[in-house]
C-alpha cells in the first residue's frame, strides 16, 4: 500500500518523457490500453467541462445581481474557450512538453506536435497507458476551469477584454508552470514529495490567491456595503453547486487516470467529505445565526469539494468526513469575519472558499494520510514531515501566484484596463459589456 500511496504523486512523473518511454518499452512489453480506463477518462473529461459550463457559470451567476448574470456566464465560457485553444497551441507543451526543467514543460509539443492516435500517456500503473489525446483533453479541462474560478473576485465590475487578456497571461505564466511543478516528474513541487491528488494547490489555492489579489487591486463594487447585493437566484446557485459536485467526480476520481480501486476511493471520499462539509457549514450557521441557509449548504458543498481534492486518493472515508467537518467552519470564519474585518470585496468569496479551503485540504492531506487515521500512508508515514512538505508546497504556490497575479493584473490594466466605468457598472455589465439582458418577459 505504501508504494502505491507514495506513487500517487508520481503518476505524472512519467508523462514528461512519455513518447520516448513508449518507444523504449515497446521492445520489451507492449503497454496496455484498457478500454475501461479510456471510457473513464473520457467520462471524466466531459464531467470537468460540465463543472465549468454550466456548473461554475450557474454557481457564480446565481450569486450576482441579475443585471450581471450574463457577464458571469460569458466570462466563464469565453475563458474556457480561449484557454482550450491556448492549450493546444502551447499550453500542453508548457505544462507537459517533456522538458526536464523543474519550472516548465518546454516547447517540445507546441501545436501538439508529434501527437498521433498512436501516442500514449502513462498512468499510475507500470505498463498501463492511455491514448495521449484523452490525457490532453482531461488536463485541458483543468486548465480551462481554473482561471474561471478567479472571476468570482472581480464579478460585477471587471472589464471583459481585461478579463480575457489576464486569463491568457495567467495560465501562461502561473497555471502552466505550477501544473508542471506539481504534476510533472521533473517538477519542483512534485520532487519535494508533496501530495496533491487532483489539484488542490494547482487549481484552488492558485486561483484563490489570484482572486484575493484582484479584489485588493480592483477595489469594491459601487454601492458595496450599502446597496442590496443579494444573489439574484439562489436557485441557480444551488443548481450550479450540485453540478460542480457531479462534475467533481470526474475531476477527482479522474485524476487517478485509471478505473481502479483507487479511483473508487477518490469517488467515495468526494461524496462523504462534501456531505460532511455541507452539514458542518449548516451547523455553524445554525449556531451563529439560528438558521441554516441554502447559500450555506452550497458554500459548504464547494468547500468540502475543494478540501478533498488533494486528499481524495490517500485518505480513508472516515478521514474524509473529518476533513469535511473541519473545512467549513474555517471557511465560514473567513468569509464572514476576516473578509469583513479587512473590508476587501472578494465578491463571490473565491479566496475564502477556494483559497482557504484549498489550504485546509492541502494540510489535511498530510495529516489524514496517516494509517492510524484510516489513511493510505505506509507504516513509516510521518505526519509531521508530510505536513511540512505540504505547507512548503502551499507557500510556493501562494508566492508564485500572489506575486505573479499582481504583476499580470497591472500589465492588463496598462493594456486594456481592468474596470468598467461606474455608470456602466450601475447599469450592469450585461447591457453595457454584452448588449443584452439575461431576462425578459
Amino acid at each position: 500500500m505504501m508504494k502505491k500511496a507514495m506513487g500517487i504523486g508520481g503518476l505524472f512523473a512519467l508523462l514528461g518523457s512519455l513518447p520516448a518511454m513508449a518507444q523504449d518499452t515497446a521492445a520489451e512489453v507492449a503497454p496496455i490500453i484498457d478500454k475501461g480506463d479510456v471510457t473513464w477518462m473520457m467520462t471524466a473529461s466531459a464531467l470537468v467541462l460540465f463543472m465549468t459550463v454550466p456548473g461554475l457559470a450557474l454557481f457564480y451567476g446565481g450569486l450576482v445581481r441579475s443585471k450581471n448574470m450574463l457577464s458571469v456566464m460569458m466570462q466563464t465560457t469565453m475563458i474556457a474557450a480561449v484557454v482550450m485553444i491556448v492549450w493546444v497551441l502551447y499550453g500542453y507543451s508548457f505544462a507537459f512538453g517533456g522538458s526536464t526543467s523543474p519550472y516548465w514543460g518546454g516547447l517540445g509539443k507546441l501545436f501538439l506536435a508529434g501527437v498521433t492516435p498512436d501516442s500514449t500517456a502513462a498512468t499510475f500503473t507500470d505498463g498501463v497507458v492511455l491514448p495521449e489525446y484523452v490525457f490532453i483533453a482531461f488536463q485541458m479541462t483543468f486548465a480551462a476551469i481554473t482561471p474561471g474560478l478567479i472571476i468570482g473576485a472581480f464579478a460585477e465590475r471587471a472589464k471583459f477584454s481585461g478579463v480575457l487578456l489576464f486569463s491568457v497571461l495567467w495560465v501562461t505564466f502561473i497555471y502552466f508552470p505550477i501544473a508542471h511543478m506539481v504534476w510533472d516528474g521533473a517538477g519542483l513541487i512534485f520532487n519535494m514529495g508533496a501530495i496533491d491528488f487532483a489539484g488542490g494547490t494547482v487549481v484552488h489555492i492558485n486561483a484563490g490567491v489570484a482572486a484575493l489579489v484582484w479584489a485588493l487591486v480592483l477595489g469594491p463594487r459601487v454601492g458595496f456595503g450599502k446597496d442590496n447585493m443579494a444573489p439574484h437566484s439562489m436557485t441557480l446557485t444551488m443548481v450550479g453547486a450540485a453540478m460542480l459536485w457531479f462534475g467533481w467526480f470526474g475531476f477527482n476520481a479522474g485524476s487517478n487516470l485509471e478505473a481502479t480501486s483507487g479511483a473508487t476511493l477518490a469517488m467515495l471520499n468526494t461524496f462523504v467529505c462534501t456531505a460532511a462539509a455541507i452539514v458542518s457549514w449548516a451547523l455553524v450557521e445554525t449556531i451563529t445565526r439560528g438558521k441554516a441557509s441554502g447559500l450555506g449548504a452550497a458554500s459548504g458543498m464547494v468547500a468540502g469539494l475543494v478540501a478533498i481534492t488533494p486528499a481524495c486518493g490517500t485518505t480513508g472515508p472516515v478521514g474524509a468526513i473529518i476533513l469535511g467537518l473541519a473545512v467549513s467552519p474555517v471557511c465560514y470564519f473567513f468569509v464572514t469575519t476576516v473578509k469583513q474585518k479587512f473590508g476587501y470585496d472578494d465578491s463571490l468569496d473565491v479566496f475564502g472558499v477556494h483559497g482557504i479551503g484549498g489550504i485546509v485540504g492541502a494540510i489535511g492531506t498530510g495529516i489524514l494520510m496517516a494509517p492510524g487515521l484510516g489513511g493510505m500512508g505506509g507504516e513509516d508515514f510521518a505526519i509531521g514531515a508530510q505536513v511540512m512538505i505540504q505547507i512548503k508546497a502551499v507557500l510556493i504556490t501562494l508566492l508564485w501566484s500572489g506575486v505573479g497575479s499582481l504583476i499580470l493584473i497591472y500589465i492588463t490594466k496598462a493594456i486594456t484596463g481592468i474596470r468598467v466605468a461606474s455608470d456602466d457598472e450601475r447599469q450592469g455589465l450585461d447591457l453595457t459589456s454584452h448588449g443584452e439582458s439575461a431576462y425578459h418577459s
Partner: protein, 112 residues
Amino acid sequence: MKYIIAAIKPYKLDEVREALTAVGVRGMMVSEIKGFGTQSGHTEIYRGAEYAVNFVPKVKIEIAVADTLADEVIETIRKVARTDKIGDGKIFVLDLEQALRVRTGETGDDAL
C-alpha cells in the same frame, strides 16, 4: 367618481376581489408592490453580508367607482382585508374627473 387606491396583504387579494364584485365593482387594476410602513421587514444574510429588506410585499388595488358606490367599496375592502395585525394596509380616495372606456368610447359612470 372616485379613484380608490388600496394597499392590502397579498393573500387577501382574492377574497377582496370577490367581495368587491359582490357589491357591484366591475373592474380594477392590481399591482404587486413593496410596502413600507409600521410593519417591519426582515433581514437576509448571505455569507456574512447582511441585507435589511425594509419592504414588505403588498398588493395595490386601484378602482374607479361611481360616487354612489364609493363608501360601500371602502367599507368592503376594510372589512375583508382586515386581519387585525399590523400591515393590514391603507385605503386612499382621490377624486376622479373623468373615465373612458377605450372599446366603446363611453365616458363617466358608464365607463366603469
